[in-house]
Amino acid sequence: MLAQPAVHTRSPGSAKQMASRRSLWKDLKRRPFLYMLLLPVIAYFLVFKYFPLYGEIIAFKDFRLGDGIWGSKWVGLEHFNRLLHSSDLFKIVRNTLLLNLYGLIFGFPVPIALAIMLNEVRVEWYKRVVQNLLYLPHFLSWIILGTIVIGLLSPGSGFINYVLQAFGLDPIYFMGNTFWWPFVYVFSGIWRDAGFSTILYLAAMSSIDPHLYEAARIDGGGKLRQIWHVTLPGIRSTIALMLVLQMGRMFDVGFEHVWVLTNPMVTSVSDVMSTYIYRLGLVNLQYSYTTAIGLVQSLVGLILVLSVNRIIRAMGERALW
């Protein structure tokens, strides 16, 4: 999803409500319906979200299907040890971080630039049409978008290579070339999400006080100066927040986006955490080993998110919790 919801455990309630603290039992007797609604939800979380956490212990065992999670033999840190000495580890961590980094460098500024441009458009219908059409790719799955990208870039029948040849250049096999593949990955990501990401920036711009623009105009500031001194400061906190959130996802590359675009020729640059875990775990059935990798990934992700929340707080923004 684009943005994180505000997670607040305490919102301003009426003081009267907070004051009347009853015991759980009394409250249950007074409003059984609410607890009845909640009970299946709690049960669901315990079974489907918390039991798999217990399942994580197979990272420290030699798991066999026949022995079950509890019955399998403990092997301590053997899998983590193997992971540390595996040449694959370096490759997948590097690819995961690099693809995210490219996405940050090339992709992050695009929605900001689009939003600034859209904000300057005075013809209402044109603005609406452009916005609505820019959102389109965001609603389609990576499988569909990937099919389209692969077709467009195909060396034999893709239109892009037809254009290259028309200019007298050699056709490029983008999908099978380790130099071009990351570009394809990053630009297809921009294609899908840049338009949709403008929503938040535009919302932040709409809450800028028009008097500020007025004042800037009276001081003789041209359009560009107004953008620099009014618009950008007005969305500074949104930019910072989005940047930090994206940093928090540094160790996580979505499965489908890579999966649909990858092929055996480019695994050296396209193999990331999620695809590696799928392949080794569910195709090669190395349950314990891949659980160990997943555990490392989850822990690093957790540390990242917690640090990010710290940073947002330090910036004086409303933190996620």
């Binding site: 039991f51 197979i58 037809y162 919302a203």
Partner: protein, 289 residues
């Protein structure tokens, strides 16, 4: 003089935005044109955004073959049931937890937030579904994707924002809790509920990863899994073109383009509603900067 200073940058801006829009749409126009062009034209790579040597061959083959439509039917079932369950459970979770004085509220919220931060990995989840005997059933998908925490927080925040007098006055009139929820709270939440329904439904329509993991039988495949198989290896039977001209056998690209178009069709049809509600939903769920 002033006119020049004002006009030119303005026109340039509109032109750049128009160009961005065209670049966004170009791949879609191209895939549509390819799906309607003859094998000969596709192989030459010369199809841009207008079909060349117009033909319905790709679509005719896909319809004759029918496999894509079986997958589509499966996906409709997955989407309708999945989304209904999602909405039911999201309301069941959000309504009680929007009551600030509910005992144990903080504990349950903490339990939900923690799952956003730290999840059991792929393998433990896979083993759980396997042990419950849910492999190859849609319940594996519906249950593992029963609630989106993001959507839950959007709805909870909305419920918390409703004036408490509404419910209090109904309670004084002797209305039961569930009557208050169904008669008063939910009707007020209709726009939010519509947005969340669309969030969930689009997610189900586009589902791929979970289906790949939990569903192995080919008769139960979802649309996106079927489409991906077509990228991977295409059934040669789908490539038969106009029999009078051997040159017109369809290349795989043409059939894939047709399949991609058919798979996007429902999303494109409801697109006007989609984007309106998605924008609303994003703004409702976002951190106000």
């Amino acid at each position: 003089m002033v006119v020049w200073k004002e006009r030119v940058p303005r026109l340039l801006l509109y032109f750049i935005l128009g160009l961005c829009t065209f670049s966004t749409l170009f791949p879609f126009l191209n895939v549509l044109a390819v799906s309607l062009s003859s094998g000969e034209a596709i192989r030459a790579g010369s199809v841009s955004i207008w079909p060349r040597q117009f033909t319905w061959d790709a679509y005719r083959n896909l319809i004759d073959d029918g496999q894509l439509f079986i997958a589509m039917k499966n996906t409709v079932v997955m989407t309708v049931v999945g989304t209904s369950l999602n909405m039911l459970v999201t309301i069941m979770a959000a309504y009680p937890l929007s009551k600030l004085d509910l005992r144990g509220r903080g504990l349950v919220l903490g339990m939900i937030i923690f799952t956003m931060l730290f999840t059991g990995g792929l393998i433990p989840q896979f083993l759980l579904i396997k042990n419950l005997g849910l492999m190859n059933t849609y319940w594996s998908l519906w249950l593992s994707g029963l609630l989106s925490t993001y959507n839950f927080f959007v709805l909870k925040t909305f419920f918390e924002g409703l004036p408490s007098e509404l419910e209090e006055s109904a309670a004084i009139d002797g209305a039961k809790d569930w009557v208050v929820l169904v008669r008063i709270v939910l009707p007020l939440a209709l726009p939010v509920l519509a947005a969340l329904t669309l969030f969930y439904a689009v997610g189900w329509w586009n589902a791929y990863y979970n289906v790949l993991i939990f569903i192995k039988s080919s008769t139960q495949m979802s649309l996106m899994v079927k489409l991906y198989q077509m990228i991977d290896n295409l059934d040669p039977a789908l490539l038969i073109g106009d029999s009078t001209n051997a040159n017109n056998a369809l290349p795989p690209e043409g059939v894939r383009a047709g399949a991609a178009m058919l798979a996007s069709l429902p999303i494109l049809i409801i697109y006007p509603f989609l984007q309106k509600y998605f924008v609303k939903g994003v703004l409702m769920g976002s951190v106000k900067g």
